[in-house]
C-alpha cells in the first residue's frame, strides 16, 4: 500500500518536475525517486503516529522538498517553493480522490 502510494507520487511529481523545468528526463525521475523516498515514508509515519493532521504534515513536506528540489534541480528558491507546492498539492488531491485500497 505504501509502495503503491510511493510509486504514484514519484511518477506524478516526476511529470510535474518535467512540465515545470523541461530538463532531461533521466535525472528528473532520479530526483523524484530520491526526494519522495526521503519525504513520503517519514511523512506517513509522522501522520500515523505523531501528527494526525494532513495539512500540517503536507506543509512540512513542502518545506523539505523545496530545499531538495532547489538543490537537485538547481532552480532558484522561489521557483523550487512554487514547484513543491504544486507537486505536493497535486499528489495530496490525487491521494484523496483515489485512495489506494
Amino acid at each position: 500500500m505504501l509502495f503503491t502510494a510511493l510509486l504514484a507520487t514519484i511518477l506524478l511529481e516526476f511529470l510535474l518536475y518535467w512540465a515545470f523545468t523541461r530538463k532531461d528526463l533521466p535525472p528528473l525521475i532520479l530526483y523524484s525517486i530520491l526526494i519522495n523516498s526521503f519525504t513520503l515514508p517519514p511523512a506517513t509515519w509522522i501522520y500515523q503516529n505523531l501528527v494526525p493532521d494532513l495539512l500540517m504534515v503536507e506543509l512540512g513536506v513542502i518545506v523539505v522538498e523545496t530545499v531538495l528540489i532547489g538543490l537537485l534541480l538547481q532552480i532558484p528558491p522561489a521557483r523550487a517553493f512554487l514547484l513543491s507546492i504544486l507537486a505536493n498539492g497535486t499528489t495530496a488531491v490525487f491521494g484523496l480522490i483515489f485512495p489506494f485500497p
Binding site: M1, L6, P27, L30, L34, T44, Y47, D53, L71, P99
Partner: protein, 203 residues
Amino acid sequence: MPGRTVILLLLIGLVIAPAAADVIPPGQKTVSSCFEIGNTGEYPDYLFIAFPLSMSGGYAVMKPGDCVSFYKFASPSIYAVKRDAFNETAAGEGGQISSNYFSSDPGVIPSGIAIRGSATVAESSPVKSISTIYTITSVNSTRLGIIPARERYTYTDGRTEEKTLLPVETTVAPSGMDPLAPVLTIVAGSAIALIVGMRVRKR
C-alpha cells in the same frame, strides 16, 4: 548514459525491495473491515469517539450497532468524553475536528489503542468482511480501558459467524518502534545519503 541507467535501476531496486514488504502477500486478498463498540450502552454518561478516520482527520461518535470503517493509513484511536462536555456543534457532527482537541482538551479521555487498517485473508477464503467488536472495560477521568473482544465474519454466501478473541489484559498503542519504522528509515536514509552524495560530487 549507461552509468546513469545502472544507477537509476539500482535506486529503483533499493526503493522497491524494502517497500514491497508492505504489499499484500502472495495468496492473500484484502477484505473490508470495520470496528464497533459492543457495550456503549453501559456507559450512558460518556460519548465514545473514533479519531482520525481519514487523512483529513474525520471522526465518528460510536453508536450501538454502527460499524465504522476508516482510511487505511488513518490508524484511529478511541476516546471517551463526558456526554455533557462534548461540544458537538462546534466540532461538526461527522465532519472535521482539530487533532489538538484530542491531544490537549482536559475533558478527552484517551484509550491508547491504535486500530490498524485493512484485513487480509487467504485468496480461497469465503470471508467477505470482518468486523472487530471492542468492549469497554473501564472509564475513569484519565483512562479509557477498551479491548478487542470478538470478531464477526461475513461470508460470501451471506452467513455470519462471531468468534471470541483471546483475552488480553490491555491493548495499547505501540509505544516503541513501529514495525514499519526500520524499513522507512532505510528507504529515507538511503535517499538522503544519495542526495548528499550527489551534491558533494557536483562540488
